[in-house]
Amino acid sequence: MTKRKGARVNRAGAAPYLFLAPAMVLFTLFLALPIGYTIYLSLRRVQVSGLGLGRGSRREVFAGLDNYAAAVADAELWAGWLRVLGYGAMVLAVMLGLALLFALMLDTAHVRLARFTRIAIFLPYAVPGVAATLLWGFLYLPSLSPFQGVLEAFGGEANLLGAGTVVYSMANVAVWGGVGFNMLVLYTTLRAVPREYYEAARIDGASELQIALRVKIPILIPAIILTTVFSIIATIQVFTEPTALRPITNTISSTWSPLMKVYRDAFVIGDVYAAAATSIVIAAIALVLSFGFLRVVKNHAFGEG
């Protein structure tokens, strides 16, 4: 018996490895190697001598953990994290709240124009981030904005790109673009639920609202957790919206979000070594945040874990 089992494993021979090969090769080439190279770069720096002009005046040397020390000690990075956390909390709450609301509304028995509404809500997700931001940017610009007149009529603060308002304007772009996708994930999960559940609830005398709160949302919890994790990762990496809005407003610095700082260090200032170290720090924080969230909700939502 045991002998035969062993033989079967042997007979499989190279096949499993062959099947694994494409994935492993891709993983190595496009994930493991770049990460390894980033770590290597993060441990090095440039040493210039004299004027730094001409051949041989610039050498790459081993820097130890200096770049990490500088990255962690940079107040601008942490200020960036604070801005992103505030922005992220707002985006997450509004985006997922709206997605859940829309998904539940579309799933109710009597809704007209369901198909059209679904597509209309999803459509912004298909607009590339840069295009979406530019589009909104034009709507925000004081002298071009159609909102301007409306805001002024109500005596409101008119500049949508001002120091106090720009973060909401950015969050609006992210929410506009992200609600559709998250709604679709939740809605698809809802459609997979056997209709008998609702029928049973209805026979027990539950209203549509009660069905939504007591039946649908509990069923949706895993999907909500999934979308939350995705959204956390996406907001930590916020880059497109502030970068695309930056040229038209003077309220967004080149280090507004941590990833913008990495971009600035690498491609504006030309210090890829510092940028590499900061990237690793950001990746570590993103991992901690997303896994931390998963741990917390695992214990709370699934109880038995």
Binding site: V46, Q47, L53, I248, S254, R264, I269
Partner: protein, 438 residues
Amino acid sequence: MRTRRFSAVAATLLTAVLAAGCGGSGSDAPESAPSSAPAAEGPVKLTYWTWVPNMDKIVAVWNNANPDIQVTVSKQAGGDDASAKFLTAAKAGNPPDLVQAEYQHLPSFVAADAVADLSQLVGDAKGEFSEGLWNLVTLGTDAVYGIPQDSGPMMLYYRADLFKKYGIEVPKTWDEYAEAARTVRKKDPKVYLGTFSSKDPGSFAGLAQQAGAQWWSISGESWKVAVNDAATLKVADYWGGLVKEGVIDDMPYFTPEWNKALNDGTLLTWPSAVWGPGVLDANAPKGKGKWAIAPLPQWNAGENVSGFWGGSSTAVAAGSKHKEQAAKFATWLNTDPEALALLVKEGAIYPASTKGQGVLTEAPAYFSGQPDFWQKANEIAGTARGFTFGPNVNVTYNAFKDAFDKAVQNKSSFADAVTAMQDATIADMRKSGFQLAQ
């Protein structure tokens, strides 16, 4: 509607594919060339990164006349991104043979050892250029890191018709400019005389040059950095005061809002460079024939100086396998009369070559109200002075944007913003190990 949208998408995809194709062949060329090297077999193939419009047409003339040296143009987006891209390509070991290098970025290219010294290859090209421009490509050393192509002497663009309407004289000094700014605000609170852009360090550098600033200089084996010298602080305080007073707007240049203001006549002046007509033509079509130029206002009455905003040279990559041929092409492009005429006509540039400036006679169509546009521009060009750029201009310029964004936003001291630029520049140079003079 649908078909139109589709064709737009198709065109975009096609461009992407073509661009990818060009990029591929571009990076292959220097690799495959050395195997067929010592010139005997086949023509030498050179790649050239530039954003001068219609450069492919100009290069075609060269290619026809020089079957042994074939140049392929790879069109780039201009500006700071182009410099970052070139530095990255040089670091990765596959730079183009030739690259358009803005004067302010050239020192960082040199510092990164990304461009070649052409002093043995360019013969007597030096005589074709004014000494100020030539210094920008030698950095004050014996080496030659590029051939000057175009330059950007600064002048004052103004709406002649609206100046008349509001009863303002063309300001001769910056004091008069400030007075005019106040007058305009009084006559029409919707209109501004000018705006201060916190996004354009190049413009600020030009204004500082006019005031006599020397942000970098080389003394012996060390760099002297003085971004916050007295001249620069004077310029910063002047504009900071006007912004704080509210008589000058603070919207950045090259934004949709700015275009709108230029177009509808709510912005009356633009201190800019000689390449301004193209920008105005594209963004303020309604102003055609209504704009005019004058020398920049002066700091002291009776003076006559200007600064530079922009301008670029043609450099040869240190990694190029065919430096000699590349240098030959670069010299032809920027000094040969035929090439200069083409650069002016097809590329719409203001040539760096003294001889090339003479080619310009007929005023740009946009300046139909000013037939002596080029005579005036050439006169002003003669009064422009620059300064040596340092090896980390990108750091300084980035610090400008962040610091002045904040200063404009909070209406706080512009002089402090200049100090922030100086501190960032020094800190970066110290970190890399540059020798600094005190």
